[in-house]
């Protein structure tokens, strides 16, 4: 299997704090890759570095073998990196369909194609009935679906999800798992940052563990949870 996303010795410092310290990852095409770790371990910073919202200090980011380290965030989106942000971030005063269509317009340019893709993405995420509503009227689950529609519309090679299960009921989380599995089977690679391990461990093919900006473990979920270093980080005992 070939690598779709590579992080090579990625380092990011904020003043005296090293948020990421020579983190290397290799995500394979078609897999669901989980990133876990306690609060402040650098998970979201890593996603920000991959998407280009934060410039890294050292290291490289590769997409499909191409060095994208110096590309701007919107250029990376066009190359196939889509992102679901932590905390359900949408444009609150734009209707649901525009939240999705603006992404499509930015990527495809062509109005007809953008609108067709938007209709498709809204249908797939079950949001077509709410297309004309403002997002502030949506439930947390529907907001997550809106973020999912925004990912789908960009036809991504890889989707980065930051805590996709946060704020969802168990039934809604199951529906989210179903969607992730469905689009993974259609060829979308996923990188998922998540605190709710009971969901992540069920769907991830491999998991990396970050602690204080350092990758301390990587492997299959069942192996990672037995790793003494990981147990120490999560439970404080080894």
């Amino acid at each position: 299997m070939s690598e779709i996303l590579g992080c090579e010795k990625v380092t990011k410092r904020f003043g005296g704090l090293t948020a990421l310290n020579e983190v290397s990852l290799s995500v394979v095409k078609g897999e669901i890759f989980g990133i876990i770790g306690p609060n402040g371990s650098g998970k979201t910073t890593l996603l920000n570095v991959i998407t280009g919202l934060i410039r890294l200090d050292e290291g490289r980011i590769l997409l499909d073998g191409r060095d994208i380290t110096k590309l701007k965030p919107h250029e990376r989106v066009k190359l196939g990196i889509a992102r679901m942000f932590q905390g359900m971030r949408v444009f609150p005063y734009l209707p649901v369909y525009l939240n999705v269509e603006l992404v499509a317009r930015s990527i495809y340019g062509d109005v007809r194609l953008a609108r067709a893709r938007t209709s498709w993405a809204l249908t797939m995420s079950g949001l077509l009935p709410e297309a004309g509503e403002l997002p502030i009227r949506l439930t947390p689950y529907k907001l997550r679906m809106l973020e999912f529609a925004r990912i789908l519309v960009s036809n991504p090679k890889i989707a980065l999800l930051d805590e996709p299960f946060a704020g969802l009921t168990p039934d809604e989380a199951e529906a989210m798992i179903g969607l992730i599995r469905k689009f993974n089977s259609l060829g979308v690679t996923f990188v998922i940052v998540e605190h709710k391990l009971r969901y992540l461990m069920r769907i991830a093919n491999r998991v990396a563990v970050l602690n204080q900006g350092v990758k301390i473990a990587e492997g299959r979920p069942e192996d990672v949870v037995r790793n003494p270093q990981v147990i120490e980080v999560y439970l404080g005992v080894s």
Binding site: T51, L53, K72, P73, H74, V77, K78, A82, R83, F85, R89, V90, F91, P92, Y93, L94, P95, Y97, L98, E101, L102, V103, R105, S106, I107, V111, R115, T118, S119, A131, G132, R150, S154
Partner: protein, 337 residues
């Protein structure tokens, strides 16, 4: 998409008030309103362009550009310099002044590309203040007229002189009024098209969450630069037309209290980013201000500012747009019956 389209009733209800207002403004000079009010309305029409300049950019992106008065005044000075030093007639120098002023508005944009929020507002306000300093300080004041300003032939003056003396002033007042009205109508229609196009929604996306916009594929830098230049084009057209009709060009054109505060208050009272709200507020507020002169003389400044403070305190998100929405609901009800 079906849900993106407005119904025929919505379009009719939306256009009727616009057409009525246009008819009133078009026929107003024929009702013998007098030279003073024609001058006032000419100014208000041109200030609509400045109001739209602020609302199109600052009302959508929330990057508060307080340097609009610089762009407005720079267009006036460009016109005067081209006329005085290069002998280009006012009619042509006015047209040339517009792109020149748009270009120099980059003096506000370029240093501020990496800053946001209040820092952008402060930086943009510094530019007109620096320009005022340049105009009034030697050696520049020798060329720019200092506080006395630069004198030149006003728009259509040569043609007016060929007319009988009795109608010269009337010709100038009427022609200025209809030019300003045409600029206001065309400016509003274009602003509306832009404001509610995909590009306009991208401007709004930048204002609502710039990081999210960039992270989901919108080239926020490009959107901001184009939006700013469109806004500058509005301020430049307004400045060039205004200066061409009211020589001499002085620093009064650049002073924020004269050419920034009135349109800015229209935008705030009208409702940020709504375009129609600030447009209506532009007429209501500026005409009220002139009406107060006849009622209470110099006390009008205090009364007007107190009125604004009360309105903004009670409804900081704007009052005119909400009133407009209610009026439309009422009209829709009338049409349904």
């Amino acid at each position: 998409m079906v849900f993106a389209k407005r119904s025929a009733k919505d379009l009719i209800v939306g256009k009727i008030p616009f057409l009525i207002a246009l008819a009133v403004l078009t026929l107003l000079p024929l009702l013998n309103v007098g030279g003073f009010w024609l001058d006032v309305l000419t100014k208000v029409n041109l200030f609509l362009l400045v109001t739209l300049a602020i609302d199109l950019y600052s009302g959508t992106t929330y990057y508060l550009n307080l340097g609009v008065s610089f762009t407005f005044g720079f267009a006036g000075y460009s016109l005067a310099l081209l006329n005085v030093y290069y002998g280009i007639p006012t009619e042509y120098s006015m047209l040339l002044a517009i792109p020149i002023s748009i270009f120099f508005s980059l003096a506000i944009l370029l240093p501020s590309l990496k800053i946001r929020g209040v820092y952008f507002a402060i930086l943009s306000l510094l530019v007109p203040i620096i320009f005022i300093g340049i105009v009034t300080a030697q050696p520049f004041s020798l060329y720019l007229g200092g506080e006395g300003g630069l004198r030149f032939k006003q728009l259509f003056l040569d043609f007016a002189r060929s007319l009988p003396p009795g109608i010269r002033l009337t010709f100038l007042q009427y022609s200025y009024y209809y030019i300003s009205l045409a600029a206001a109508v065309v400016g509003y229609v274009i602003a509306y098209k832009i404001g509610f196009s995909d590009f306009g929604f991208m401007l709004r996306a930048v204002g609502q969450d710039e990081e999210l916009a960039e992270g989901t594929g919108i080239n926020t830098l490009k959107v901001k630069v184009i939006g700013f230049l469109i806004s500058s084009a509005y301020a430049s057209v307004a400045g060039a037309l205004y200066a061409s009709m009211r020589p001499p060009v002085t620093v009064d054109l650049v002073v924020p209290a004269n050419t920034l505060i009135p349109p800015l208050t229209s935008v705030i009272v009208g409702g940020l980013g709504t375009l129609i709200g600030p447009a209506i507020a532009n007429y209501l507020l500026l005409l009220t201000y002139e009406l107060l002169w006849g009622l209470i003389g110099r006390w009008r400044v205090i009364a007007y500012m107190l009125l604004l403070i009360i309105i903004i305190t009670i409804k900081p998100q704007g009052i005119v747009f909400k009133a407009y929405v209610e009026a439309r609901k009422f009209l829709r009800g009338v049409f349904s019956e």
